[in-house]
């Protein structure tokens, strides 16, 4: 009897979590989608964003989001994979036990701190070394690349550890070196986990807001180079929601809907990739 009550209470709590997700989804789409149709798809996916004068084209922000996300992956994948391979295959248990929690700690640093470090160190460095304003695609990519490291490292590490030892033995028994084994066998065997880690990292990068606002410069145009300033979907929402009203406010929800759709697609792909074996 007591079990039954506990079960029902837990069910209720679990259901309310799902319910809140459904409500958020419904609310965002309900607020945003009508504007997309009102503006027309063609205008909505154009580059003219002048929300106070009725221009709701979000193309430059979509491109901005995609650019910093791609940049984050260019930075995050090589470092993250190298780190995971080193931890899983080349380091002693003591080093693993020390380094893994430290890397995971990176995920616990508030994003405003990343942004702050970006402003204080990275932006001036880029300005003085490569020119331009410093607030740029490059700066955002590097900071986001570091921010997605823990996701990529820990998921890739776990999936490398999950590769059965019999594969390693089989490979060594053919005369393969450790590095050959990693490159020719283990990365293949752990591929689904690694891809899932990368996709989840991508989701983090595209959704990140605070750090990006602080270092990307937020200029409203399609960047011509890595040193140009850039504005993302998330920055636009955060920067403008405070004073937006009417259609402008709806347009920001429309941006949110687009982000939401992109992130849902990424998550579905990640789940598909890990499920398939």
């Amino acid at each position: 009897m007591k079990d039954k009550i506990a079960e029902n209470i837990l069910l209720l709590i679990a259901f309310s979590a799902i319910l809140s997700l459904l409500l958020i989804t419904f609310f965002i789409f309900q607020q945003g989608i009508p504007l997309i149709f009102k503006t027309g798809l063609h205008n909505f996916f154009s580059i003219s964003w002048s929300p106070t004068k009725g221009g709701f084209g979000i193309l430059s922000m979509i491109i901005g989001s995609l650019m910093v996300t791609a940049g984050a992956l260019v930075v995050g994948i090589p470092f993250g994979l190298a780190c995971a391979v080193f931890l899983a295959e080349f380091s002693s248990p003591t080093i693993q036990k020390t380094l893994k929690p430290i890397i995971e700690l990176l995920a616990g640093i508030p994003s405003v701190v990343y942004g702050f470090i970006g402003i204080v160190i990275l932006v001036p460095f880029i300005r003085e070394t490569f020119g331009g304003p410093g607030f740029s695609v490059l700066a955002a990519s590097i900071i986001l690349g570091i921010m997605i490291l823990p996701t990529i490292v820990s998921i890739s590490y776990d999936s490398l550890l999950a590769v059965p030892n019999t594969y390693r033995e089989g490979s060594y028994a053919l005369g393969a070196t450790k590095w050959q084994t990693v490159r020719m066998l283990l990365l293949h065997a752990a591929r689904s986990g690694i891809v899932a880690g990368i996709i989840l990292g991508m989701g983090r990068a595209i959704g990140e807001t605070m750090a990006v606002i602080m270092i990307a410069g937020n200029a409203l145009k399609i960047p011509g180079s890595l040193l140009d300033s850039v504005r993302t979907l998330t920055s636009t929402i955060a920067l403008e929601l405070g004073y937006a009203a009417g259609d402008h406010r709806a347009a920001l929800f429309a941006c949110g809907s687009i982000l939401f759709i992109i992130i849902i697609i990424l998550n579905i792909v990640a789940i598909r990739v890990t499920g398939r074996k």
């Binding site: 019999t166 033995e169 490979s171 028994a173 005369g175 393969a176 050959q180």
Partner: protein
């Protein structure tokens, strides 16, 4: 004599797993190593391709000479040794790659990249284990889609592709049913013409069926090593007699 050991002792930390092993394995024969579980027979097999090196805390003394080379000398090239002395494991460990890539794995490790050469090697190796006929149209399917017996054959083909001299087999049939076991045994008879085979088995009937020489191990010691017929009909040591007559083990 293709493999000769003298006074080999092996320790896991403080536990002595092999004690004073002296034996000589002859070319182009099947040598069976039998004994109850935990007697050190798999450990002994892994001495011959230095797979024990992968385990922490293993120390080995004595000498193991293969083809006149001391394989525990500091000058021994470990990867060359493992190319020459291939190993088949207890459970088929086909890699999660295509059938083609499984067999081509070894040659690629050894630097062969030419597609035509690789294809020739793959076809020849698969034919060597009698798989090519059935699988020639499925080379790009995943190896994990094969049956256990086919996977074990594939693992043997993968070894043949690097042209070893010696095949070490660690209970290669323990995951297979009797019919599949019979087929793998037939394959071993074929392979014996070209290769020297050392097989560890807990299955005495299997050793009696296929081995030319047999060694009986107990608690880390090699109790007796002789012609299979001698071991199974007229063993010199009473412990061997006790084991083969089923009194323990």
């Amino acid at each position: 004599m293709i493999i000769r050991t003298s006074n080999v002792n092996l320790y896991y930390h403080t536990f002595q797993a092999l004690k004073h092993i002296d034996l000589a394995i002859k070319e182009n024969l099947i040598t069976g190593i039998i004994g109850p579980s935990g007697c050190g027979k798999s450990t002994l097999l892994r001495v011959f391709n230095r797979m024990n090196d992968l385990i922490d805390g293993v120390r080995i003394t004595g000498s193991v000479v293969i083809d006149d080379e001391d394989i525990y000398s500091p000058f021994c090239d470990l990867t060359m040794l493992r190319k020459k002395v291939g190993m088949v494991f207890q459970r088929p460990n086909a890699f999660p790659l295509s059938i083609f890539d499984n067999v081509a794995y070894g040659p690629r490790v050894w630097g062969i990249t030419d597609k035509k050469t690789l294809t020739e090697i793959v076809e020849r190796s698969l034919a060597g284990v009698d798989l090519f006929g059935g699988l020639k149209d499925k080379l790009h399917h995943s190896a994990l889609s094969l049956s256990s017996e086919q996977q074990q054959r594939l693992c043997i083909a993968r070894l043949l592709a690097v042209e070893p001299e010696i095949l070490l087999m660690d209970e290669p049939c323990s995951a297979l049913d009797p019919i599949a076991t019979g087929k793998i045994e037939e394959l071993m008879f074929d392979l014996k013409k070209t290769y020297t085979i050392v097989i560890v088995t807990h299955n005495m009937q299997q050793a009696a069926r296929i081995a030319d020489d047999v060694g009986f191990m107990l608690l880390g010691e090699l109790i007796e090593f002789d012609k299979a017929r001698k071991i199974f009909t007229n063993p010199a040591d009473e412990r061997t007699f006790g084991y083969i007559s089923g009194r323990f083990g």
